[in-house]
Point group: C2
Chain length 500, copies 2
């Protein structure tokens, strides 16, 4: 036998994986993690802590923006260790609310043990509760067979893109700016991304003209447009869609034979009243009441996937990995294929499924845990709203920063107007202008945010040599005032340093 090199190298692995980009956990966050380790090891850096504002992780320490909801965690603990339910009543009742005990018993009845595999779609009782939630929310009943519990919305998207679309053939419309899961999934499965730009000066409204242009261009290139992704409330934009905007997307999907993916994981994160959250499912099914025959056809034929998650909203329970998707108007045989594919991964995590139950079926008025649950969720809502407003206000006062207040979601997406000199410096370093800005922000302050280009909002050079670009920051950083002070100091220095 002779010597042998590696069988695996960048040249011999799946080229689609090589092509995947995922900025929210990309280069800048990796550098931030490195700095954090150095700080722990006692190294001296220009800052004494890292602020991870790159990812919507509401329970991340030390900036815990959203303490866990008590009712959730009581139920979770009881399902993990059922002997607690058999402890003497006085010690049990001192530790756990009676309705948490009751819920845990119901869930244990349905799960058997949280250590057992469930059905691949998830436990029927939880899916029944999801169906009831959808009926309360939208006014239309739902068949539990159309509901799949998942290990978070990302896992649902990956499963469905993989099942529905053909590598090398199909194309999918995604909003720009977008959440990078979508571009990553399209690269991974060798599907063509069709970018439809949202208008920053029209509250990030999608334009159906651009959608149609993109569809035509894909067809010219021999690709079949199959689906349109919509994120509402928007990530990273924070925009909420109006009923008219949703109707327009649905009609376009009807005309062009597109499946709609409605990413609605921020449906509870809404900070204004003019444009409340409205689900695609409701708007689609409402067409069924129309006098117009075409609209009634729309309601019965447009295929919709809507996704929700326990990672955002008031729960912010990212670590347990839970969510669901529901399928409207999807062919039964295709649904069978989805079912088969999810069975290969056996089942979603039990505590993620339990989380979905708690999400869609929270304590009701009059139940023992209601008042505390109400107070905790209200506090979280108020905190996020206040932080978001506070940050937007302070940012907007800075020269070279334009910012729209977030209508929803967990992010701010400020636009930067930076100098010619800054652009030249970025070019010299082989970076994009937003990467230069975010890298210097991290290096000087320890604040970790994601450049707009990570969301495909590419920097644009203007005629006078200056530029427009973006970055996304979460509104979760606990020490908001200190965070803002650090940021303001950096930005002021950056503008001074690269003054034209």
């Amino acid at each position: 036998m002779s010597t042998r090199g590696k069988s695996l190298s960048l040249d011999t692995i799946n080229p689609n994986v090589r092509n995947v980009e995922y900025a929210v956990r990309g280069g800048i966050p990796a550098m931030a993690a490195k700095y954090e380790k150095e700080l722990e090891e006692g190294q001296k850096l220009p800052f004494d802590s890292i602020v991870f504002a790159n990812i919507g992780n509401p329970q991340q320490m030390p900036n815990l923006a959203q303490p866990p909801l008590t009712f959730w965690r009581q139920v979770a603990a009881l399902t993990e260790y059922p002997p607690l339910l058999d402890a003497p009543a006085e010690s049990r009742d001192a530790l756990f609310a009676p309705d948490a005990q009751q819920r845990a018993r119901e869930l244990l009845d349905a799960f058997g043990s949280v250590g057992a595999y469930t059905g691949s779609k998830g436990v029927p009782l939880v899916r029944k509760h999801v169906a009831e939630f959808l009926e309360r929310r939208d006014g239309y009943p739902e068949d539990i067979e159309n509901i799949y519990l998942t290990a978070g919305a990302s896992s649902g998207i990956l499963t469905l893109f993989q099942t529905f679309f053909r590598s090398g053939k199909d194309a999918v419309l995604i909003p720009i700016p977008q959440y990078p899961l979508y571009s990553a999934a399209l690269s991974l499965y060798d599907l063509m991304p069709l970018h439809y730009e949202l208008s920053p000066d029209k509250h990030w409204e999608p334009s159906m003209d651009i959608v149609r242009e993109q569809i035509a261009s894909a067809r010219e290139q021999g690709r079949t447009p199959r689906a349109i992704v919509v994120i509402n409330p928007g990530n990273p934009t924070g925009a909420c869609m109006s009923e008219q905007e949703i109707q327009d997307v649905i009609k376009e999907a009807y005309r062009e034979g597109l499946v709609i993916f409605a990413d609605e994981v921020y449906q509870s994160n809404v900070y204004q009243n003019q444009c409340p959250f409205l689900s695609f499912r409701k708007v689609l099914l409402d067409f069924g009441k129309s006098d117009n025959e075409t609209e009634r056809n729309i309601s019965k034929s447009v295929e919709l996937v809507s996704l929700h998650s326990i990672s955002k909203g008031f729960s912010g329970e990212c670590g347990r990995r839970g969510g669901y998707f529901e399928l409207t108007n999807v062919d039964a045989e295709v649904e069978g294929q989805v079912n088969k594919l999810v069975s290969v991964s056996l089942c979603p995590p039990a505590q993620g499924q339990i989380g979905v139950d708690l999400l869609v079926n929270p304590p009701k008025k009059g139940e023992p845990s209601y008042d505390l649950w109400e107070k905790e969720t209200q506090d979280i809502h108020d905190t996020l709203e206040r932080r978001s407003e506070n940050m937007a206000k302070r940012f907007s006062e800075l020269p070279g920063v334009h910012i729209e207040p977030a209508m929803g979601a967990l992010y701010l997406f400020p636009q930067l107007h930076l100098s010619k000199r800054a652009w030249d410096e970025a070019e010299k370093q082989g970076k994009k202008i937003d990467e230069l800005y975010c890298t210097e922000l991290l290096n000087e302050t320890g604040i970790c945010v994601v450049p707009g280009s990570g969301f495909e909002a590419q920097p644009k050079r203007l005629e006078d040599g200056t530029s427009h670009s973006y970055f996304r920051t979460t509104m979760l950083a606990k020490a908001t005032d200190e965070f803002i002070e650090r940021y303001v100091k950096f930005h002021t220095a950056f503008m001074e340093r690269y003054k034209d």
Copy 2:
């Protein structure tokens, strides 16, 4: 707008998904689930309960074969609801062992909150404990950067097959019989499966001659053989590999440039002493001590992925979805691609990661929870061993059944010698002989097992018209005696019904 049909149909989705087969959750288990529902609804069937012996799900009710380990569940509950750690000492200590409290505090320090995303590879403290476990087990240290926590072994396999191999180009050797995850993953990613048959009359030993034949045949067809999958202890065979067998596979992988996937999820499920579990990692690294230069090269160059899981062994914690894989000799840039890909799914479930910590770092002698943990794991071991022996003995007394006692894992894989008439009847019904047998078994007794063909152990017709085929049953059914009585009665009637 005119009317519009469905955009999604079997003809327009990913053809690779259509090609996936997954028998352990396939047609017969689906029928069993239907019967279970009918029984719940009060329908009369020839049996009053379903025995799910199709899948290794040790905590499944009502046949709970493996009660959860107390230490595990105490730690899990405390991490879910940390205020329990602040309860008055007397009530806290009445409910939770002091070392469980201590472990929960350490884990909470490391995780922050179980509701927060962790790093995509999993929490560093848990990966450190995995590295220490591997060093204790194999005698060689491990870098935590080579360790990835996963949502179970299946999720690790899917991630790595997707990253390492090129659709339409590469080929992967899998044992026959195999666990259907492997054939499903290969179909899904359009990779060519190369079957190497294990010899039932030689304790399911792999033959390197067949491996070489398969490699040659793949190359002739223009495919590149890239990897070999080994399941040890075997699923569905229950066989344990000897050091010699493992060395042979490693040498072959060296010669042919194959990555080894060592699926070692049953490493604690071993029921005999002649052939104890030996890891591929140990055998590979042991080559480094050889006087032979080639063997030392082998040790430094053969790429190995080894996988473990919390779903099997003494924990049997399938529902929380946890496991890990470790990479030996894998190129750093390729590892970077794996890291990027897993980041798209954000992170493995927190309670799955905590499970891995408990798996690799159980209570030690002298610690408060040790005696109970020792007793519970010993009971589980004894129960499984006894059930396995008992079932094998009773099965082997039946006419037309040949069975090897399981050396390890959770399954028995009896060989059936069935009549010409039974084959003809199967053919008439458009079924394989093992499907006919397993379908009638379910219909008459409520016992759900998986036909051998689901593991690619295809029925063989013999010259006299009779046939050899297989089925897999778990050894987990609680009412073992009743299970066996039902089965014996069925088998006897089946043999009589189809007598030649």
